[in-house]
Subunit: 354 residues, 2 copies
């Protein structure tokens, strides 16, 4: 049975939502857990779930909670005590070095020492990245690890890389992201021959900023070598139109794209709610329309995808949203489970060193 | 009466939609027109409208067309013949130099020679920018003109600058964009003391890429000098939350943000339509919900805002969407009208030279 290390103290709703979500995932996906953090706090949460027999969680539709039965006795878990926590606002480099007994550093250690096969954290993204990088090390040949994010579209999910690990990039880095993203799409999304595009402004070759223009010929080269299936520039408005399975970009543009998606969807859904509430008939129609809109909410909800993978480190490291609920945490563990036993890191090593 | 130069041949639906939309705007806003392009084609469109007495146009809700009465005899217009057209795919620099008698170059000339107060084009963005820059010249002290885009939010509209004129920027350029954007928000949106933010990944000072980190202290300086009201970093997901009236960024990130907004909204609305069509009851509820959704569509439709302003050139230059319908064109002319007689360019000159 695979064992997953959980940073039980990371995230806005830790340790409650983190413990609940990971136990749920353990039961759902049949994996064992090493819960890392303050022993007593973790134990208290587990005891509560055990005595109650269920957790209350929304399931991808904000605010609509339901009971999920959890049989704690059937779950294989251990608790590893870590006395410190790295907060959301802390300077990353410093805190990783100073807080040697922080939950994220100790959780990564569980993977580095071979007790676990993956680590999942909903704490500070910077801290999770740094801890994974220092604790696991880079895969030979990878110059910079990058964040791969899986996004919903009308058809199959889309992989965006880099989602924010490297705010300034070189063309060589983007070319590696294309190779790592290809391996990830094969392993995690199950697309045998994923197509790769580069995020740009304008479809034609030659459109874009200096970085895109420098990266384009490198991606063409990789295409000719048969290493990736490069399809050219992808504009922001085409992001969700399945023109490419993997889209590469620097971490700044990638994070802007991700967050703008989140912001636009949230504004639009708020506008819809406001519009329906504008008059009496609207309220009634709005009520009837609710189940339909809720289904959409579920389809586009980032919580369903749960976690982003840090690619390029020697191990599996999933970074979950800081606002992760139990449901989001369950799915973040699920994101780790999806790439277990898929040999993703050998594939990445092979592709960047060939 | 102010006169506006129209590039009648620019845009996917030119000259029909362009002529219809500008006549509509002339009637609506009480401005005169100089229609620039192929004389016979323009005249033919005008004759059609004259004999019919109306145009058929959607009004911000795709596909739902209504009649708009146009009394051509009451509109003050002239036609200026230009024999050439610059197509969407053409190399910008070359075509501007070679096609001296193209409609966009000739329309800009009408402003440069003082016959018109603004130029509006729905043709190639690159060609419209280059023609405006070469034909009108930069305002003294402005290092690079930038595109200001007005976006809908839940409250007052937001100004994003640069929307795509400069794909690679320096910190000094972004600092000027902040000043130009402030002048624009005052003139075009009517906000007396607009706040300014910088698009970044992470809210705290120090988060972002090298460009953002370099720009931050410059914006702080301008704030201390009382030139702008700087409020710090704005994340992509906060774009529409009215945390700042003006958001500065390089043209690459700006264009990605704009296009991702468009792509997300379009995917979401498609998902809603699909979801309602999934069963019989859904179809009925969907039909009832339609007027509500249509009102939202109208609120978020880029066509309502119509045009982006190229700030920093000596004159008013509005760049409309290439897919502009008559309705979008009417609003693009409206965007020019909103800044007429507001002395926006003296304000920009004053702020960058003070």
């Amino acid at each position: 049975m695979s064992r997953i290390a959980i940073d039980a103290m990371g995230g806005d709703y830790a340790p409650k939502a983190i413990v609940e979500g990971s136990l749920w995932a353990a039961q759902e996906y049949g994996v064992a857990l090493e819960l890392v953090g303050k022993q007593d706090e973790i134990q208290k949460e587990i005891d509560k779930i055990k005595s109650r027999g269920y957790i209350l969680s929304d399931c991808g539709t904000h605010g609509h909670k339901r009971r999920v039965k959890i049989d704690v006795d059937k779950i294989d878990y251990t608790i590893t005590h870590a006395s410190e926590v790295i907060g959301m606002g802390e300077a990353v480099g410093q805190s990783i070095r100073k807080k040697k007994d922080s939950s994220i550093v100790a959780a990564v250690k569980a993977v580095a020492e071979g007790r676990c096969e993956a680590v999942v954290s909903a704490g500070s993204t910077g801290a999770a990245m740094a801890a994974s990088l220092f604790g696991l090390g880079r895969i030979h040949g990878v110059s910079r690890p990058a964040i791969a994010v899986t996004l919903p579209t009308m058809k199959e999910p889309l992989v965006l890389i880099d989602g924010g690990a490297n705010s300034d990039c070189t063309a060589d880095m983007l070319a590696q992201f294309a190779q790592m993203g290809t391996a990830f799409a094969q392993c995690a999304v199950g697309i045998e021959n994923p197509t790769v595009g580069i995020l740009s402004i304008g479809e034609e070759e030659g459109k874009g900023n200096a970085l895109v223009k420098d990266t384009y010929p490198l991606l063409k080269d990789l295409h000719e070598q048969g290493k990736i299936d490069f399809v050219g520039n992808i504009e922001g408005k085409e992001l969700f139109k399945n023109k490419a399975n993997v889209i590469v970009c620097d971490g700044f543009a990638g994070n802007v794209a991700l967050k703008v998606t989140e912001g636009t969807a949230s504004m639009l859904l708020k506008m819809i709610a406001t519009e329906f509430k504008s008059d009496f008939i609207g309220c009634i129609i709005g009520l009837m329309a609710k189940p339909f809109l809720r289904r959409i909410l579920k389809r586009i909800n980032w919580e369903v995808f749960g976690g982003m993978l840090l690619l390029g480190v020697k191990g599996i490291s999933v970074i979950a949203h800081g606002r992760s609920s139990a449901y989001a945490m369950r799915n973040a563990v699920g994101a780790a489970v999806r790439v277990l036993n898929k040999d993703i890191n050998s594939k990445i090593a092979e592709s960047v060193n060939k």
